[in-house]
Point group: C2
Chain length 430, copies 2
């Protein structure tokens, strides 16, 4: 039987006492009253409520040795808390789990503190949980890699030779990472010319989502010093859902020879709640066997993924209903998040608290488990039927909804949703 909170948590909730994901929020009522910096603070989700960690800290309830004098919850981001590392994260989790438990009276029986610290989720606005120093996007699903290779380069050797030796990645754009619910403005750009004509210029004709998750980095490392793969776990605070919105026509034209740029940098959406690796531990599972065996710096004793069922829904413009377009799972990743992190630092590159490491599109083996429209419609060769509405790529007004949720015996550990609605491109004279 699951842990029990004095707060009523529905069995379907993504946020029971076993989860306790971290986010950053602003009470909607406070928005107009005080400055945004003061009003913005970390919180933890419990059922349909948000526990205001700044209030808990100010009440002196973080009384463990590592957190009692810390200002980490009186901040507009989680970066300082992430920097403290796993011992502090464990201490915080134990404190919060105890405070919210039905067996503890501290919060349960203090009506005034309860009112101040527990806010209905509907009354708060969720913001980016971290200040992102750098965003890296990996390419770790073999199915996705094979499909993209086949679409763009043909069926002969669709997976590049290096892919089985290292987790391929590129640097992404940090400034345009946005929180779930923020609208996406259709980007403009250049697409491939036909024959000797000038390139196409205008709003992208191939707007896509990419179903990803991302690891949020904890303490990080000093420039010049690598993180050993056996220590990589302690540098990952938790996971979020990530939508790596992509303009396929812009990307295909610009990427030679230096990789994706404007086809990606217009927006990247993450879910507001960071689910910790502690909360995901019951859902750990073996990661796929690797052949060839990776080099020693990428070999780990315990190779784990997490069994996180993922879904993408698309609600077409003007329609009431969202249709499921794919069902995938985090467990399909060939390269683990610890391998990704160890590889990232092997050259001495420094990671900082709050850095975002995207997994790359998480496609599974079946045609129902493909993680983007490029794969699902085979670059618009086919169309999806969304409850009577046809789609090859996204149209203005379409809304994309990701969700991910682990199923325990009698509880869930979920990520909530990661959503975005497509707005038309801004017109210009040129």
């Amino acid at each position: 039987m699951g842990l029990e909170s004095f707060i009523d948590v529905s069995p379907d909730s993504h946020f029971p006492l076993e989860n306790l994901p971290y986010g950053v929020f602003r009470p909607k009522t406070i928005c107009r009253e005080s400055s945004p910096e003061v009003a913005t603070r970390p919180g933890v989700a419990i059922g349909d409520y948000v526990l205001d960690l700044s209030v808990i800290a100010s009440a002196g309830l973080f009384d463990g040795p590592l957190l009692k004098d810390s200002r980490c919850f009186n901040q507009p981001s989680l970066n300082l808390f992430l920097e403290l590392g796993r011992p502090a994260w464990k201490e915080a989790r134990a404190t919060i789990q105890k405070l919210l438990s039905v067996d503890d009276s501290t919060l349960q029986e203090d009506a005034s503190l309860r009112k101040k610290s527990l806010l209905p989720m509907n009354d708060v606005e969720m913001l980016l949980p971290v200040e992102v120093g750098d965003y890296t996007d990996f390419f770790c699903s073999m199915y996705h890699t094979k499909n993209c290779g086949t679409i763009f380069r043909g069926p002969v050797n669709p997976i590049p030779q290096n892919w089985f030796q290292l987790p391929v990645a590129y640097h992404g754009r940090a400034s345009s990472i946005i929180v779930s619910g923020t609208n996406i403005i259709r980007p403009r750009g250049q697409g491939h010319p036909t024959g000797s004509s000038p390139p196409y210029f205008g709003p992208t004709k191939k707007l896509d989502f990419e179903l990803e998750m991302a690891a949020i980095v904890g303490p990080g490392n000093e420039l010049g010093k690598s993180i050993d793969i056996e220590e990589a776990y302690d540098h990952i605070f938790g996971l979020v859902l990530l939508n790596d919105w992509s303009a396929r026509d812009i990307q295909a034209w610009e990427s030679i020879p230096l990789g994706p740029f404007l086809g990606k940098s217009f927006s990247t959406t993450i879910s507001p709640w960071i689910v910790t690796l502690e909360a995901l531990e019951p859902f750990a599972c073996d990661a796929p066997k690797q052949d060839p065996h990776p080099l020693p710096y990428l070999s780990e004793k315990r190779r784990i993924n997490y069994d996180i069922p993922l879904e993408v829904l698309v609600k077409p413009a003007g329609e009431e209903l969202a249709s499921v377009v794919t069902k995938s799972n985090f467990k399909h990743l060939y390269w683990t998040i610890t391998q990704q992190l160890a590889h990232h630092t092997i050259n001495g590159c420094n990671l900082r608290p709050g850095d975002v490491l995207g997994t790359g599109t998480i496609s599974g083996p079946d045609k129902e488990s493909l993680g983007c429209l490029l794969e699902l419609t085979w670059n618009a060769q086919n169309q999806l039927d969304l409850n009577g509405t046809a789609r090859s790529f996204l149209e203005d007004g379409d809304e994309v909804i990701f969700t991910g949720c682990c199923q325990g015996e009698d509880y869930k550990v979920g990520f909530g949703t990661c959503t975005g609605k497509v707005l038309p491109a801004i017109s210009i004279d040129k």
Copy 2:
């Protein structure tokens, strides 16, 4: 005749009254006394001195309408000043030029203020001038592009089709941008396997420099809104020298299909002084004619580069003398910095104050003007003779020195130097 300062400025100085570049420094004596945040503040270079802008601000001498109530010079970075935009930059320049002029008595005749505000350059430590949100690296020299294409893909169509239509670029790593003088630790990583053997793993065997400059972004733009090319100039504060250190064996193996990653992210060095576009204006020159004509969003009325002669010197390990290995010039860039910036935002990507836009390696047309060892030694097919020492790529202990300086009629506007010394790779058990 040049402007005259009451401070003695040698005719060879990079930093006369016509220049006034901005940086961030820490007095060496204060380092041990107060916290680094308090001690770190913006300054302007004048001859062999640094003018402490926090002291000038505190003395109430920034008395223009835009700066008189600003805290922008009481900051550990220039970001807030950059955000204010060109009118504030002009006001600051006029104030500083007047205060340092031989015709003004304010500072000249106040011995106490002079002593507090003018510090010998030898007594300060230069730090990163900006907090870098994002770093983008372009690929804007046609000569460099052609040479790299020929080396890696052969002499048939060495320049990709897209290159003449848009300024190709990739996202770089912001966390590992370091200031001139910081040592470079030789990165480790995977290199290309031969035949069916596992990939090489170890310290890079092909460590290179790349001679670049970078634009430092001013106000920037909101996500979703592009910057028109005719307004791009006002979003660029100034230029620095940039060494995009590269591990060619790591880069060549990892870059398919998503571009450079660990072959670049171990370190990127910038010079400490940002030379403003105002100071560079006398050295503006026509940029190369473009054929084909760019799309309207990249077409600008006045297409300018700057005539900035650049040099790279290498001082081999254990030697006393540095040898000049290349002489190039900023004016060789095919895509201007305003085109780079307009292109960067055409998809709605938001730029923030302090963002760094690298130009890409600035190679010229001659074999003496190639901007990296990859080109100079044609991927180690040849060796350079450095005053009796042979080099194909960089060895441990080698020091690389960039310098750039515009020559006026009787004064210079220079960038100082951008240097780094190579240290051996850190060994690990794995």
